[in-house]
Subunit: 569 residues, 2 copies
């Protein structure tokens, strides 16, 4: 079985083992195990047959900006249209809007296969799908009907335009203006880091763009617009592609700097509510980033696991060399990286399923608890999907040695492609602030409580004598204690919180990893996953202590030390 098909089967097995799956199946009896397996197997076939073949070539060829327009790598347009024709782009968009009406979790399981095939191409599918959801939720009927089915069918494609030179993580400093003149909204300003800001893979492009429509400071003056690249009369809108960034990786995805020169635009939703509305889209993008990272992680983990069976080195010099899988040091490396990828696999599916369960939950209080839990989990999935991909690629390269450093193997591309995942869609620093200051401090840890309650509820249902339940319970307890301490910083020492936010996010991920690794240990029909879960679970308490220690030392003299080391000029 190929790695793609194996990943599809594993996703189906993990889904069936997740406690939320029963609730989804009750609502969607059509999605029995065979159907899920068939969908994912088809996605695997597409990823392997249509996307993987263009991936390496696109990395070498890159994108070109010629006469003001961008051409995507060879084969991208055809592969994108095939992806759309087969219904994969709008998988979880409502059927009456041209989608398939499938759950988010199935979209996610398919997307991680496609990302494994060709991450750069999927950047366009990702923003187009997220835009479909955004427009479905906030656009008026005419715009919705005009755009959402077209995005799903691949006729149209969409971007998200937020960043500007002086407004990166700090969205409130956006200066691009939206002004209504003679009844028409016009956008003026520069946007940067726009993935697929222009290309030749669809007939019409729409830019979901944040612009300032009032002088209210910060994010309150921002509104959301849809800016088409082509006007109704066929003329090109006043948008100039200024340059493509030369990046370390993701060469197939054109990263554009764009100038909007009074471009005609459609206001989406309410004036001044732009950022709040865009959050719908950003949440989808963050989950997508986690799933991207997972697809890449599983890909390189398989490469490493295959390599060590084939590559022979060492052993008695008088005899044949041994496969390097015989060496303890190599085994440890492969267990480390594979167990991280497997644990992430469970965790990403769990979050996607949680999003589906929110939609199914009728009781407001229970629904709010699920929403809080999703918001608690999202910054971790985004961050550690990203980091696991990069770390796993680097670890796999180490297993392959010199070969892994060359283009003979795809690992080096994964390493280059994956590095940006921890930067875009909100850097790790921004995710950590969200996790500590919004989720724990501002929302009084509602998501944390919901997570702990459901994890403990799950753990309590299964007594075991293998010690795994105890490891999980201890880590949940440790994280609860640490969270209480971090909560105490809110009033007494918010500055220490700034220093502690990232280690606290890492500690949270250990707790979430513990739950998901423990779940793997319980998959008795899947000895491979159970062994990886056990290995990972046994690593976690040491890692937790490291991050907790950093959290606790953050209230010390760090500003003094910093200012001594880096005095103001």
């Amino acid at each position: 079985m190929t790695g793609f098909q194996h990943q599809a089967q594993t996703s189906a097995a993990l889904l069936a083992a997740l406690p939320g799956w029963a609730a989804l199946q009750a609502a969607r009896p059509d999605l029995d195990r065979e159907t899920v397996e068939a969908i994912l197997s088809e996605a695997a076939r597409f990823a392997e047959g249509r996307l993987a073949p263009v991936n390496g070539k696109a990395d070498v060829q890159g994108c070109q900006l010629v006469s003001g327009r961008v051409s995507a790598p060879q084969g991208f347009a055809e592969a994108y249209q095939a992806l759309a024709n087969d219904g994969w782009i709008g998988m979880d968009v409502a059927e009456d809007l041209g989608g398939q009406g499938l759950p988010v979790v199935l979209h996610t399981a398919a997307q991680m296969l496609f990302d494994r095939g060709c991450t750069s191409l999927m950047m366009l599918a990702g923003s187009s799908r997220a835009a479909s959801h955004l427009l479905a939720a906030h656009a008026d009927d005419a715009v919705r009907a005009d755009w959402v089915p077209a995005l799903c069918s691949g006729h149209s494609a969409a971007t998200i335009c937020i960043s500007e030179p002086d407004a990166g993580s700090d969205v409130g400093r956006i200066r691009t203006r939206g002004e209504k003149r003679e009844g028409i909204w016009r956008i003026t300003g520069q946007k940067i880091w726009i993935s697929f800001g222009d290309h030749d893979m669809a007939s019409r492009l729409g830019h979901c763009l944040l612009a300032r429509t009032s002088d209210a400071p910060g994010t309150r003056g921002l509104s959301l617009f849809l800016v088409p690249d082509t006007l109704e009369d066929g003329r090109r809108n006043a948008i100039v592609i200024e340059r493509l960034e030369e990046k370390m990786g993701l060469h197939g995805s054109p990263t554009c700097a764009m100038q909007f020169e009074g471009a005609e635009a459609i206001l989406i939703g309410e004036e001044g509510r732009g950022l709040a509305q865009l959050f719908t889209m950003m949440e989808f993008m963050r989950l997508q980033t986690g799933a991207q990272g997972l697809g890449l992680s599983l890909s390189v983990a398989d490469i490493a696991a295959g390599y060590i069976k084939d590559r022979c080195q060492g052993g008695d010099p008088k005899g044949q060399p041994l496969p390097i899988a015989a060496h303890g040091d190599v085994r440890r490396q492969v267990m480390d990286l594979s167990s991280k990828a497997a644990t992430l696999h469970m965790a990403v599916l769990d979050l996607a399923l949680l999003l589906d369960r929110i939609g199914l939950e009728p009781a407001p209080q229970a629904r709010a608890a699920l929403e809080a839990q999703a918001a608690f989990t999202l910054p971790m999935i985004k961050t550690f999907g990203a980091e696991t991909a990069f770390e796993t690629a680097s670890a796999a390269m180490q297993v392959l040695g010199g070969a892994g450093y060359t283009r003979e193997w795809p690992v080096e591309q994964v390493l280059r492609d994956s590095r940006v995942l921890a930067i875009y869609e909100g850097t790790t620093g921004m995710q950590a602030q969200d996790f500590l200051m919004r989720r724990l401090w501002r929302e009084d840890g509602a998501g944390l409580k919901s997570f702990l309650a459901s994890a403990r509820n799950e753990s309590n249902q299964f007594a075991s004598s293998d010690g795994c339940g105890q490891l999980l319970d201890a880590l949940l307890q440790d994280f609860e204690c640490l969270s209480a301490e971090m909560d105490g910083l809110k009033t007494g020492n918010a500055r220490a919180g700034e220093y502690a936010a990232e280690p606290y996010l890492r500690a949270g991920w250990i707790a979430v990893s513990a739950l998901n690794a423990w779940r793997l240990t319980r998959l008795h029909g899947q000895p491979r996953l159970a062994a990886l879960g056990r290995y990972r679970l046994e690593q976690l308490s040491g890692e937790f202590s490291l991050h907790a220690g950093k959290c606790r030392s953050a209230s010390g003299n760090l500003d003094d030390l910093f200012e001594t080391a880096f005095p103001p000029a």
Copy 2:
């Protein structure tokens, strides 16, 4: 002051603070502080003025294999000749052989500046300098006189040829043969991963090559040869450059696969002693790798520290944005990466100085202790010089955000270039085996004992009330206890040792880092370095616990878990 000059000054300050410096100065009274500073300042000027300008272009242009010969990037030949003309290549080679007769530690401090300028070009200087030492030690008078001055002057250049397709880490499986026919040694076989295996930067190339001269198994049948690219009559030797590897980075350094087709060669030293003789060279290369990593680490640390003062984001949305250096999260990131680089800086210079002290020490027992300590330290400097470069580059990229992922900034090149450092010159896994199985087990921890004794001796000389001495003493103690446990595996559970070797190497690096970070805290005239040392020292006990925990759990069920997860086909 530029980053290069600042690095030169810092090296001089660190050197003066190292306890071994006094012994070196007693032997070399000409090397007073002003002279050292002048030499390093001149090296900084050269690195910045001649090497840095070719670095980025070489990354883009790479090397070409045309009609069987390799052309190096534009400007490389001129820069290399200038490096040689100014005496930098043979800095620590004896004066009567064309070198400058300077200490290893001064060469190392200069080399880390040059590597900061252009790592790929310095790959050639590195192997040529190491070959100079190798030939000075083991070649006969005629060969020594023919080659060593020529290597120092840049007329000639040298490579090391060890690896073959089936002999990477496992050197004993070398199949390339050396056979004596009609009084002439001839080499037949393939060598791969040969840096600068061919190029147009010098008039004559010599390959220091391991080949099998008898059927004694393993490394015992290996002899060392010097294989010139050109014969005395001007004909080209029977060497074919088969291909250049396409690598993720170090594009300026041509990595060659080479076929030796009965090439004429000179036997160096004794038949069957090839590997033992080559160790001289490999030790130099390993220290060089650590220094490479340091130069790259310091370079990106400076970029990050500069960026956060200029880049403005965040703060009250009604006011001007703040330099991101104001944010606690950013400060923590920069302290993390800068303090690791500064600690490595002290540690690399310490090892280089130790090598000089070996040469100065007349008493056999004291000399043996220094040699053991150097052998104990070398695998850590090699490994963590490499890892610190890559980690620091990745951390600096995170500080720069999207900008760091583009070619607008040199960080992404450093990240790509540095990744191979943990692979070549002995992978991390091989260094870890050396550290545990050779240094601790086979040599009964002689190097460990010497390290602990000298570190404690140094610590005891300086009572302090700042708590730093206590942190150091505790970590030395913890590492000694852990080492006793690891020593116990030798007879009872060597398999667990295979699993534990890498975490044990990491634990050792924490102890070495503790000593060097503590040394930084004592630099009262250098508040920046003292603050970085203190920050790093406070991080170390958490990191030590993590690695010690992994060492201790290595005796468990890891083979069972691995074989369950990855059953034999």
